[in-house]
């Protein structure tokens, strides 16, 4: 495993182009595009203000930089560095900006969700979509880029509009049976739209592309409901994480529950492997321990850690949430399928140090990773069943069916991994610190293991 040198970045804005060739990073008001292989700077663009959002177009030709405070969007062309485009939303404000799947339109959501403005880079035409709903996930494009589903709120009722992205033709418009729609997501094959209600009510609705209600699922009533919804890449399963610390898996034929994964504080399943991260501090004199550790960051962050396999039953650390506060830190907030739909990784918020990996073939718990600190981010390798985890320290953790490793990021000054992104090839990983980034290249030998 190799690591690149450290580069600067701000706002954790750093993305690899969809074709995997370029790496775009934002540093304050500058946009830097590098070659992924050589890390040489290819282009450098200067925006009008500090960039708050950056995104690649689907064809990797254009880069969108949004400055929400100014209500501005600037678009840069990789092929024609002289070409420029500036979209000013004016005094109406801007809260969100995104590419349409074709890479020729930009969808801007104005402040207060007054409307969605669709700007065409081809014709300079502008069109508006009124009544967008301010919610967890109000807009979703189908994987093939043909359709866009938009959550709307009119007359205190929830609606879903399905647009054809090609010409923004409204294909379907239907009312949903929700109290307060919280999000929607297309199945990867683009034929089924999952819609879920706010956490006050456990309700998941499944609509066909043509607006027919296929099924409604509700596991329980009254207590807080859905926290996260994820489709498996094969569109075969719909995983619903909820506030009762369970993940329920629905099948794509009958839309009934196949199984549910519980997240108990004590793991008694003997078939699951429990990896526990054990920290070994380098030998430091006990008399100057505190002072030394604080003053010299490198020794503090260069602690050694490794995984030990604990024999079951294992007691996991649990934090009891404050019942009086809104959005309690409990329940499954992260649900992620591996690219081959074979594994499912979950995180339960009241056990923030633990990552659970489930086998979708056996429908059972496969592994448990107990970290020393709270898990910040986890992401599956887009090519292989390999999970990368970071916990805001100097280490990168990788799980694969073969085992579990903890890797120290060998950089000076204590590079704390806050977030990570896989390269689409699965060969490298972008590690994001607070103001830095570094690339991690995977060994092919290790992969084979």
């Amino acid at each position: 495993m190799n690591f690149s040198e450290v580069f600067k970045q701000s706002n954790q804005l750093c993305k690899v182009s969809p074709d995997g060739k370029y790496l775009a990073t934002c540093v304050q008001y500058r946009l830097v595009v590098r070659d992924v292989g050589t890390l040489q700077i290819l282009q450098l663009y200067t925006c009008l203000d500090q960039i708050s959002h950056m995104d690649w177009s689907s064809d990797s030709l254009f880069i969108l930089c949004a400055m929400y405070k100014r209500g501005l969007v600037q678009v840069w062309s990789l092929e024609q560095p002289d070409w420029h485009c500036k979209i000013d939303e004016g005094s109406i404000g801007l809260v969100s900006s995104r590419w349409s799947p074709d890479g020729r339109h930009i969808l801007n959501t104005t402040e207060f969700h007054l409307r969605v403005t669709v700007w065409s880079l081809c014709t300079k035409a502008v069109s508006y979509i009124k009544y967008p709903k301010a919610c967890q996930k109000g807009i979703d494009f189908s994987r093939d880029g043909c359709y866009m589903a938009l959550a709307e709120r009119r007359d205190c009722k929830d609606f879903v509009s399905v647009f054809v992205c090609d010409d923004w033709h409204l294909l379907r418009h239907f009312e949903t049976e929700t109290q307060d729609l919280a999000g929607l997501e297309w199945s990867p094959n683009g034929c089924v739209l999952a819609v879920w209600d706010s956490c006050l009510e456990y309700k998941v609705l499944l609509y066909s592309l043509d607006g027919r209600l296929l099924s409604t699922y509700s596991a329980y009533e009254w207590s807080l409901g859905v926290k996260s919804v994820t489709w498996s890449p094969s569109s075969q399963f719909l995983a619903i994480g909820s506030y009762d610390e369970k993940v329920r898996i629905l099948n794509h034929i009958t839309w009934k529950k196949i199984t549910q994964f519980e997240h108990p504080a004590t793991i008694s399943n003997t078939k699951a492997v429990v990896y526990k991260e054990v920290v070994k501090r380098p030998a430091v004199g006990s008399d100057d321990l505190s002072l030394h550790n604080i003053t010299i960051g490198t020794t503090l962050f260069n602690t050694q850690s490794k995984y030990e396999i604990c024999p079951t039953p294992v007691q996991l650390p649990v934090v009891k949430p404050d019942p009086d506060r809104a959005n309690p830190k409990i329940g499954v907030s992260t649900v992620a399928f591996s690219s081959d739909s074979r594994y499912l990784a979950t995180k339960n918020d009241n056990m923030a140090n633990v990552v659970w990996v489930w086998d979708m073939q056996k429908m059972s718990l496969e592994a448990v990773l107990e970290q020393t600190s709270a898990v910040r981010c986890l992401q599956w390798d887009p090519r292989r069943p390999r999970l990368a985890v970071c916990t805001g320290n100097t280490k990168l953790y990788l799980w694969s069916p073969a085992g579990c490793v903890s890797v120290q990021v060998p950089t000076e000054g204590g590079f704390q991994v806050q977030s990570l992104n896989w390269h689409c090839s699965g060969d490298s990983l972008i590690l994001l610190g607070k103001e830095q980034l570094c690339l991690c290249y995977m060994d092919h030998d290790q992969e084979d293991k």
């Binding site: 939303e89 007054l114 081809c122 043909c146 359709y147 054809v164 090609d166 010409d167 033709h169 294909l171």
Partner: protein, 582 residues
């Protein structure tokens, strides 16, 4: 407690009062008689004749020999006859007294018994009272618990009502809240609309796009005008994607189905092979009945029919297929179960050789012991039941029971008394006989004495005469003199004794003590054949016995004192007696 004790006291006092009444009557009636005898002026100079006849009459009425006979004609009283009569009378009197005393002792015994029983009864009553109180206590507790339950039920009901109320409140609040939210949202929407309008109308800072030059579409095509045609095309495309999705799904399902069918067929083949082998085995077995054979034939048919049906897809064929599979599966299952049972039987058979007998005996023994335990338990239960019944009867029942008991016991006691009296009667009879014999002897001796006197007189008379022979008659005289002194003494002691006894009759206890010494002893004493001191000893012994028996009673000290007094009297009286007799 206090109530019961007072009751007991009442009973005791009443019984104490009741008991002595007949004795007192008796003693009172006997007292004047005594006085009469003591200070009698019955006989005087002038009415001797009348008195004599009267006494004669009385004596004859008592069945004794008359004091004198008219036939004799002599006016002189026959002293011997009088004395005899007197003696008889005294004996009669003694006898009567003794029976009376015996009866009184019995009476005492019975009274003490009664006391004891009453004490028992009071004890039982106390127990009853105690259990009653316990019962009431328990009842009270039960009542309290019921009250508690009731209050708890009430509180539960209240809580439920409260919950209902709160739920109502919540639902009403929720609806109100929803309503408010909707209102706010509407307002919010209006505001948004207004803002939108304002922003659109605003001139100075408009939304704008500034593009250097327009870029081509990603697909290189030109954008099309929105027409009905494009709409239809979109629809078509949508349905196409849907269709393709369904297509792929169907294909997947078909593939899966084919896979499953393959598995099914494989299973079927295996089953057929297994079942056919079994069928052959069955056919070989001659003992199997015809029913199974028919079954087997049917099975064969099933196998044949199922062969083609696998490839058919219509509903009927599918139904047939599943039915066949089900049938065969059932057969296989039964077959396997049979095999299983056979295997287990074989195993059991093996086991039997080793420890079957032991286990059987063990089980038998266990059963026997269990039965015994059950019986014992039943027995204990019945006993407890009976005990309970015994310990808690109602008052009337106890009263009747107690009275019955008393009656029975009294009967028993009377019978015993009767027996003892009978015995005493016999003893008296014997004594009487002895006495008569003694009297006969006495008369004989008297006759001899008479003869001796006659002889002596003759001798005296003759001594006056010149022929004197002194030796022989002196010897005879001394002998008879001795004899006569004895009889005199006995005659004297008897009245003395009598008087003492009469003086003692004022206390009923004294009489019963005097009754107890054996009559022969008394007789001996009367004849002064035994020393008088000895007679006190047996009395004492009996005293102790009485004492111990009476100690159960409540008012012993007084009685004991009486006892002692009487004893003292007795002991004092005897030396007197002696002195008088000597």
């Amino acid at each position: 407690m206090r109530e019961s004790s007072s009751e007991v006291k009442d009973i005791r006092s009443s019984s104490v009062e009741c008991r002595p009444s007949p004795m007192r009557q008796f003693s009172q009636s006997s007292l004047p008689l005594n006085r009469n005898y003591m200070l009698s002026d019955f006989c005087k100079e002038h009415n001797v004749q009348e008195c004599r006849s009267h006494i004669n009459q009385e004596v004859s009425s008592l069945g004794l020999q008359p004091v004198w006979t008219e036939a004799s004609g002599s006016s002189e009283m026959n002293i011997i006859a009088v004395l005899n009569c007197m003696y008889d009378l005294i004996q009669l009197h003694h006898r009567g007294l003794r029976t009376l005393e015996n009866m009184e002792v019995e009476q005492l015994k019975t009274s003490s018994n009664v006391d004891f029983l009453q004490l028992n009864a009071t004890h039982l009553k106390e127990q009853l009272e105690l259990s009653k109180r316990e019962n009431t206590g328990l009842l009270e507790r039960e009542r309290q618990l019921q009250l508690k339950v009731k209050t708890l039920q009430n509180s539960l009901k209240n809580e439920k009502e409260e919950v209902q109320k709160l739920q109502n409140i919540i639902s009403s609040r929720a609806s109100q809240y929803n309503h408010e939210m909707k209102r706010k949202e509407r307002e919010f929407n209006k505001l948004k609309e207004r803002l939108n309008q304002l922003l659109v109308d605003k001139k100075e800072k408009k939304q704008a796009i500034d593009v250097l030059n327009s870029i081509g579409r990603a697909d290189g095509k030109r954008s099309l005008w929105k027409t009905v045609k494009t709409e239809a095309k979109h629809e078509g495309e949508m349905y196409k994607t849907l269709l393709s999705d369904y297509d792929t799904r169907q294909r997947e399902l078909l593939l899966e189905n084919a896979e499953l069918k393959k598995v099914l067929q494989q299973m079927k083949k295996d089953m057929v092979s297994i079942l056919s082998s079994r069928k052959n085995a069955l056919k070989e077995d001659k003992h199997q009945d015809a029913g199974i054979q028919a079954d087997a034939e049917e099975e064969e048919e099933v196998f044949d029919s199922s062969k083609e049906s696998v490839e058919l897809y219509c509903d009927q064929a599918r139904e047939k297929l599943t039915n066949n599979i089900r049938l065969q599966w059932r057969r296989l299952k039964s077959h396997v179960e049979r095999l299983d049972s056979q295997a287990s039987l074989a195993q059991r058979g093996e086991n039997k050789n080793s420890d079957a007998v032991a286990r059987e005996t063990h089980e038998d023994e266990m059963d026997g012991l269990k039965l015994e335990i059950q019986q014992c338990k039943d027995f204990i239960q019945t006993q407890q039941h009976l005990l309970q019944q015994l310990s808690s009867p109602c008052d009337e029942e106890t009263a009747s029971l107690l009275s019955d008991c008393f009656m029975l016991q009294e009967k028993e006691r009377f019978r015993e008394e009767w027996k003892s009296l009978e015995e005493q009667r016999k003893i008296f009879e014997r004594e009487r006989r002895n006495f008569t014999e003694a009297a006969i002897r006495l008369s004989h001796e008297r006759k001899a004495f008479e003869d001796d006197r006659a002889l002596f007189l003759k001798h005296q008379f003759l001594s006056l005469s010149p022929f004197a022979d002194t030796n022989k008659p002196q010897m005879t005289k001394s002998k008879s003199a001795f004899l006569i002194s004895k009889t005199e003494a006995s005659a004297e002691t008897a009245p003395e004794n009598l008087i003492k006894c009469r003086s003692g009759t004022t206390s009923p206890i004294l009489r019963c003590v005097q009754l107890t010494p054996p009559p022969t002893d008394d007789l001996h004493r009367t004849f002064c054949l035994m020393p008088d001191k000895r007679s006190t000893k047996p009395k004492r012994k009996i005293d102790h016995g009485e004492e111990s028996r009476i100690s159960l009673n409540g008012n012993i000290p007084v009685q004991r004192k009486q006892w002692n007094d009487s004893e003292d009297q007795n002991s004092h009286s005897h030396p007197k007696e002696k002195t008088s007799s000597i």
